[in-house]
Each structure stands twice: as C-alpha cells, then as structure tokens.
C-alpha cells in the first residue's frame, strides 16, 4: 500500500472535525476489511493522505435496549452481533444476515457500520490498477458503465441508473425488513434516515466527513415472524447473488403486515411491494406463498445476463416464507 498517515479518534465528533480539517483527503477506517482491499488495489482515482481510525471510539461498540428500540453502535463487530442474545432472540433475521457474511476471520474484524457502508463489488469497478490500469466508470467520476454491455451476471435487475452495481450488504437487507433507521453524524449535527435511504445507485449518500454512528431497530410486534436467506454458490466468503429478508405479522392465520426486501438485486435493499400486497389479507399457507412469490421482482428490468436472479428471488421467497409456517 502507498503511504498514508494514521490518526486514532475517541469520539465520532472528533472524527467528523478531523475529516473536515483534511478537506476530503482522509478516509475513515473501521474494520478495514473493505477499505484495505480498495487501497491495496489502488481502485480509485483518489488515494487518502490520512486514515482516521474509528475503532478507538469505545462508545460506538455494543448493543443496548432503550425502551422498545434496540440501538446498535456502528462499530459493533459482526461476530459480536451474530452471538448477541438481544439480537439472536429478537432479531434473528439480523443475526443470521450477520452470520452469513464472508468468513469468521472477517466477521471478527468487520463492523456493522462498515458492512452497511462498504463499497460495491462490481468486478469492473474492482479491477486492480496494477494489472493494466483501473477501469474508470460513472461511479469513479468518468467513463462508461462497463457492466451494461459487458458481463453483468451479478449486477442489479432493478433501479440501476448510470451504475448497475447492487448493494453488497447482507445486514442492510435484514435491517430494512426490520424497519431500522440509522443515525449519521455530520458537520451540522446528527440526522436519522431509514436504512434504505442511505443508498443511491452511485453509492451511499454519506458525505466524506459524515460518520454512520448508530443503527436503531424498533422492537418487532410479538406475533411477527422474521428471517433472512441468502443464495450463494459457496457457503463461506461469497457475496449474495440474491438475498431476502422478511418480517410478517400474522393474526388468526391471516397476514396483516409484511415487509419483504430483496438484496443484491438493486442499488439499495429492494422493497417488493408486489409480494407484500399479495400476502396481506390472505391466509398464510403454501398456496398464498406460492402466489405471492410469483410476484417477486415483477418490476425488474434485467440486463443481458442476470434475468436468472428473478427466478432465484422467487425460489428464496417460497423457501423463506414456508419456513415461517409453524
């Protein structure tokens, strides 16, 4: 890696002001499992002069229950999350999404905030600079999208615009289905956003000096059932080809609420309202599930090589929702 200086900060506020002083020439490092790969491959036209280490902010690691809302510090490690009693008991969808990420070694370093803010896995974007030069694209500020006319088997099937890379985060999909919000600290102070709104086709909407500090999840109604499922070729290490997270409320056998989100099909966790409305008001059985699953991604406009993702999404919908039938 090329040289950069390094600074530990002890509060998010200090991190923001430190980044501001660097005028966009600094990057934040948390777990580093994504960032160091980007720096080693020299992917981006810009290279940070300084890394601001957030891991030294002790207040941002951990899970606490605040009166019906569970607040997770962004620096909580994925390995801690998958084992946390509060999370495994009340938010099994999130625990299973966290446990599905990469490998145990990566989960020991990677943080929840970092998993949400990680950069895209588009293989054109990720092409290393030392092997004939990096591939510029709209996301890097200039050049065409290579995926549109190239090999786009792992790209978005819906909502892509200029960039067709899907959101690679598994935990974002589970958090979206659980109705989570995130707190972002910037120069003007803190703001709260629904989790899916931090994503745009060109990456997260966070500014260079903004830090995602907390993730807040409202307590689920006691009668709701939730889960997460991810399709990959290999079990460890792989990013999702398609993932799904669902939270379904069932009263007297009838569905009266459904949150269905797909991952790795769009630049953000994709809310599938067609599946949700097909489920609501129906008896929750294999017949209604099969009918609703047939609606999955009906609005998709797949690229040349990724229409298969729609079939996988429908199969995952059936598998996940049928596992909810007691």
């Amino acid at each position: 890696m090329k040289y950069f200086s390094h600074q530990n900060v002890t509060s998010a506020k200090e991190g923001v002001s430190c980044a501001k002083d660097c005028n966009g020439k600094a990057s934040f490092i948390a777990g580093g499992t994504d960032l160091l790969g980007i720096l080693k491959d020299n992917l981006l036209p810009t290279y940070p002069e300084k890394l601001i280490n957030l891991k030294t902010i002790e207040a941002l690691a951990g899970v606490e229950n605040l009166d019906g809302v569970v607040r997770i510090g962004a620096l909580t490690k994925l390995s801690a999350l998958e084992r946390d009693l509060e999370i495994t008991r009340n938010f099994p969808a999130l625990a299973s999404a966290a446990a599905s990420v990469a490998t145990p070694e990566i989960r020991n370093a990677a943080t929840l905030g970092g998993n949400l803010c990680q950069d895209t896995r588009c293989w054109y974007y990720r092409y290393p600079n030392h092997m004939g030069g990096r591939m510029d694209c709209p996301r890097k500020g200039s050049g065409p999208c290579h995926a549109v006319l190239g090999d786009n088997r792992y790209h978005s099937v819906v909502d892509g615009k200029r960039c067709f890379a899907p959101c690679p985060s598994d935990t974002a999909v589970a958090l979206a289905a659980l109705g989570a919000t995130v707190e972002v600290l910037g120069i003007e102070g803190a703001k709260n956003l629904p989790i899916e709104e931090i994503y745009s086709p060109m990456g997260t909407v966070l500014k260079a000096e903004e830090i995602l500090t907390h993730i807040d999840i409202p307590a689920p109604p006691p009668e709701s059932i939730q889960g997460f499922k991810k399709f990959t070729v290999r079990k460890p290490i792989d990013f999702a080809i398609v993932s799904i997270a669902a939270k379904v409320n069932i009263t007297n056998g009838i569905v009266d609420g459904a949150n269905i989100f797909f991952g790795a099909v769009a630049p953000q966790p994709y809310r599938d309202e067609a599946v949700e409305s097909a489920l609501i008001g129906e008896k929750f059985d294999t017949k209604s599930i099969a009918k609703a699953a047939g609606q999955a991604l009906v609005k998709a406009k797949p690229l040349s090589m990724n229409a298969y993702k729609i079939d996988i999404a429908r199969t995952l919908t059936v598998e996940l929702l049928e596992s909810f039938i007691i």
């Binding site: 890696m1 090329k2 040289y3 160091l36 280490n53 990469a102 145990p104 070694e105 990566i106 290490i237």
Partner: protein, 168 residues
C-alpha cells in the same frame, strides 16, 4: 534525538515485547504497513503466510488477543497494546515440544504443500480454546474461510477432531 511517546507502538508477539517507531523515515514503521508484513519482513516470523493479501484466503490468520484475525487486513499501527500469537508461538517455548494440534496435523498428514497450514492451525487453536470438543459442523464453520488448493480439508477435519481428544 527524542521521539514523542505517541509515535511509538508496543505490542507482544508470541510473548516477546516489540516496539516500533511509527513514521515515514528510514527504520520507522509506516502506518500503511500490514501486520503480515511486519511479522514476516521485520520480525522474520515467516510461518505466517500471505496468500491473496486481500482477506479472502485466511492463510495469514494469527491470533490478536486470542481472536483469529487476518494479519494481511490489519494495520500494524492499530495493534498497539495487543498480544499477537503466530504459528511460531504455539510450541512450548522451553522444550520446543509441538502443540498437540500441530502434532495432530503431522500425524494425519493434514496438508500437502503446507502453505495454508499455519492459518488453519491458528484458527483451529482458537476454536479448541473456545469449544473443547467441537462437532464436525463447528470445525467446518470455524475453518470455512481457509482455502487449500491441495484439498487437505478432509484430513484437517480428522486432525482437529483428533487434537480435541476424540477419534472419529
């Protein structure tokens, strides 16, 4: 010549205290250096192997405060105060006797080229410290990220189960 204290970091490697000056001048450790490079190039502990250098193969796994960690994706500057254990730290320092896990890998020939073996043994060591007699599934999950191009995995499962004091 004096340095400010904050320009130095100190951590333990296999029980030995190591101190480094951080900076860009000759002899100083640049903040951009990974732990894998520090272990191999500065300390000569070449038992830790670097395969992909991108966190995908787990060859470079070492224990940082007892937790299996990727040394290629860890900045040395962030190890201040930590305790690092590499494959060289497993044998008994007084007698040189191998760790039972290392001996089990030899007994089961749980390797061919051996490049991934140090990482596998380190991760298995952490598993056995946490779970004294893991199930086969637990071993598979704990070692799931460790790539072996020689397909030694079957023998590794036997070796780890054997080291855990169980014959399968």
């Amino acid at each position: 010549m004096s340095y400010e204290r904050s320009n130095w970091i100190k951590f333990h490697v296999n029980g030995d205290c190591r101190e480094f000056a951080i900076g860009a001048r000759p002899g100083e450790l640049p903040p951009s250096e990974t732990l894998a490079d520090t272990l191999r190039e500065r300390l000569g502990l070449t038992g830790t192997k670097v395969g992909c250098d991108r966190g995908s193969c787990c060859s470079c796994t070492v224990l940082i405060n007892g937790v299996p960690s990727l040394s290629c994706m860890t900045l040395t500057v962030e190890c201040d105060g930590a305790s690092v254990t590499t494959i060289e730290g497993l044998p008994d320092p007084a007698t040189g006797e191998l760790d039972p896990l290392q001996q089990a890998f030899i007994d089961h020939t749980a390797y061919q080229c051996g490049f991934c073996t140090p990482g596998m043994i380190i991760a298995a060591k952490a598993l056995l410290t946490e779970v004294s007699s893991p199930t086969e599934e637990e071993i598979k999950v704990a070692l799931g990220g460790h790539y072996c191009r020689c397909i030694s995995h079957y023998h590794v499962l036997d070796a780890v189960a054997d080291a855990a004091g169980r014959k399968r």
